[in-house]
């Protein structure tokens, strides 16, 4: 190494300032991102996290029956319920200051053990009328409601004593804990949620396969067509894409409906009984294909555009049959687009709510419809949250795969 003049004796040591100015530049750039990040955290990500938190949150019972929960903390299934628990429950019920908190605890216990709501509320009402001068709380409670002699009631309270629970998540997977704490699956005839999960995934898979079956040749046609034709085909894909989903659903509803165009056409030809084409799996699949096929076509098209025709010609000139050319040369090159498109369609299908709600029958209602149902109709937030966890975990696993495959976190649809 060579120095062209002697190192100056007042060598400035201001490296710290410069590191600071570089950090400042990064900070300024980050300050541009911060508003959106904060906004999303407050308005969207925070609320979603809160909802998911509710799937394991279990504080109602402990809030309403604090003494009982404490008294039961050392109790083991199979041993007699301690007398202190009876006393504690009587005191908790007598002093339940806010009936609202007791009602929500009763509701929570009722999810786990049907009948517990009325058992608790009845006991409380009768307790208020009964005089308080007794020391045999066990006899008192069992006289007010004979179910207190069954250890299952106490096990339900103990299991719901919080602060976190796996109750909702297990329920969402059609499993439950016995009074002894062991996990069992519900018999098939009682299973309520697994069929919905299966429905959700079956529909998503069917539509993805359909989207490949129709989207692939269409994207190929676009990629091999002249610019003008490709432009027209692109217009055909994008126009429905920009049309509100509700409009497209209504269009299919009208087309497939009892007096719809297709129906009347078929009937005029004497081909169809006056069956409903609506409210079944086919209607849902068709509408979903219509809505989501652009997510398949666009990434496929942008990859296919980059495959050089020369490769295919070269392979053919080397003696490969068209099928071999397709399988060995073409498919590997368009595989990234195919994977991205499939994951996009699958992810979108998992979350559909309106299409099955309007065009589907009872057997087409998947997880999203169930989630809305538990929020709207039964106000069972814990269960809605648990179902959301299952749905969201599935979606994010697929999204993770998407990020790995495309090396990009953005759900862009490829070059337009």
């Amino acid at each position: 190494m060579r120095h062209w003049r002697p190192a100056s004796d007042h060598a400035p040591t201001i490296a710290r300032d410069q590191a600071r100015s570089e950090r400042a530049a990064k900070l300024r750039a980050f300050m541009l991102i911060a508003p959106l990040l904060v906004f999303l955290l407050v308005v969207f990500i925070g609320p979603v996290a809160t909802l998911l938190g509710r799937s394991v949150d279990d504080q109602e019972v402990a809030a309403a029956l604090p003494r009982t929960v404490t008294a039961l903390s050392d109790w083991q299934w199979g041993t007699p319920v301690p007398d202190s628990a009876y006393k504690a429950l009587v005191e908790d019920l007598r002093e339940a200051s806010t009936p609202a908190s007791l009602a929500s605890a009763a509701g929570r216990l009722n999810y786990a053990l049907p009948g517990m709501r009325s058992q608790l509320m009845t006991t409380r009402n009768r307790l208020q009328r009964a005089d308080g001068a007794t020391s045999d709380f066990k006899a008192l409670l069992e006289s007010l409601s004979p179910k207190w002699s069954e250890p299952e009631s106490w096990a339900a309270i103990k299991q719901a004593s919080g602060p976190v629970t796996d109750f909702y998540l297990l329920t969402a997977l059609d499993m439950k804990r016995g009074p002894d704490g062991s996990i069992t699956s519900l018999p098939a005839n009682l299973s309520a949620f697994v069929p919905s999960i299966v429905t959700t995934f079956t529909i998503a898979l069917t539509v993805t396969i359909l989207a490949i079956a129709f989207g692939f040749p269409f994207a190929y046609l676009m990629a091999s067509a002249s610019d003008r034709v490709a432009g027209i085909l692109m217009f055909m894909v994008l126009l429905p894409f920009l049309t509100a989903t509700m409009v497209r659903i209504l269009a299919w509803g009208i087309l497939l409906g009892r007096e719809g165009v297709i129906k009347s056409g078929l009937m005029a030809l004497g081909l169809s009984e006056p069956l409903d084409l609506l409210y079944n799996r086919t209607a849902v699949n068709i509408a979903l294909l219509h809505i989501f096929v652009p997510y398949m076509v666009l990434p496929l098209y942008s990859v296919m555009k980059t495959v050089p025709q020369a490769h295919l010609r070269a392979a053919a000139s080397l003696g490969a049959t068209p099928l071999t050319v397709f399988r060995r040369v073409y498919l590997p090159q368009v595989a990234p687009g195919l994977a991205a498109g499939s994951l996009l369609v699958f992810i979108q299908c998992l979350g559909v709510f309106v299409v099955p709600a309007i065009l589907g029958g009872a057997r087409e209602q998947g997880l999203p419809v169930l989630i809305a149902h538990y929020v709207n109709k039964t106000l069972n937030w814990g269960l809605a949250a648990a179902l959301s966890v299952i749905l969201l975990v599935s979606v994010y696993l697929l999204y993770w795969l998407f990020v790995k495959l495309t090396k990009s976190a953005t759900l862009s649809l490829g070059a337009r």
Binding site: M1, W4, A19
Partner: protein, 378 residues
Amino acid sequence: MAPIVEFKNISKSYDGQSFVINNLNLDVQHGEFLTLLGPSGSGKTTALMMLAGFEAPTNGEIFVEGRPYSSLPPHKRDIGVVFQSYALFPHMTVGDNIAFPLQVRGHAAQDIGRKVAAALDMVRLPGVASRKPSELSGGQQQRVALARALVYEPKIVLMDEPLGALDRQLREEMQMEIKSIHARVGVTFVYVTHDQGEALTMSDRVAIFRRGVIEQIADPQTLYDRPGNAFVATFIGDSNLLTGRILGRDASRTMLEIPGAGTIAASAGDIGDGNANDAYVAIRPERILVSRSRTEDVGRNELSGTIDKTIFFGDHLKLVIRLEGGQLLQVKTETAQPFQQGQAVSASWSPEDCIAFTSPPANTRDGVVQSLKNTVAA
């Protein structure tokens, strides 16, 4: 006069481990045309970007007119920059592009109009003010970029490979043009290029960069005639590099033995403490005289060999001579000289025209040295 720019102990590292610039000390004089020359990745562009304020040094300080500049944001530096990609604003007309720095500085409108016209005249592009940059050729765009960097009379103008995107003929034309503009405006120019011809033609001084340090800084003539080390000797122009062994030295001469060929005298270059064993000798091809028989001139080095190849270049002839002992020597001669392959010849040159080094040239830009070494090995 104090230098206008001083790099003091400047180092730059992106990853905290390897240095792109390693303890650089460099002065730029008022009004000079200084070129930073080096292969890609040598740190020359990084040095320029730090002066412009687009990169911050990891260590050390840059002074401009005596003021520390490292933490000054680029828009407060008053340094013009011309980019290889021109960086003309595509949505503005040529006139608006050149007016931009003046508007930013709050010049009066009629003042701006006058200065824009003058700037366009200076780069000999009158009458294109209302056109879009995309309507101009590459060379024209480069002139506009130059006019834009000069119009507000900055203290210093930096150019980052400004001619890299132009074809050869246009590039040579623009070299002359930039040189003459520099002579007219008298502003300090700092110019980055990897093209040694460009550097030698245009510059007052050239700083040769390699691996984040300056190998030599001097005027073009000195660089060519008295390279400071083997790297500079082979990087600037063509040079033969013979390998030999130092026999001894006195105040001005170093005696070397070229294995199998004979003994020669050379000017001492970068030979360290002297009697190291192996050394390299650099000789310019055009400084060698070839004759059919030995001249026996005692003042000159003379080695014998045979013509290995003759290559016709139009304006000159290149002879490749295989010296006794196997090393190859390239010679540039007039085309009229009748030499044939296999002919026995004698090559001679003055000891002033060859310089001995002990440090290896390592990683030179082309295969010349490499091939010479291979020949020796073979």
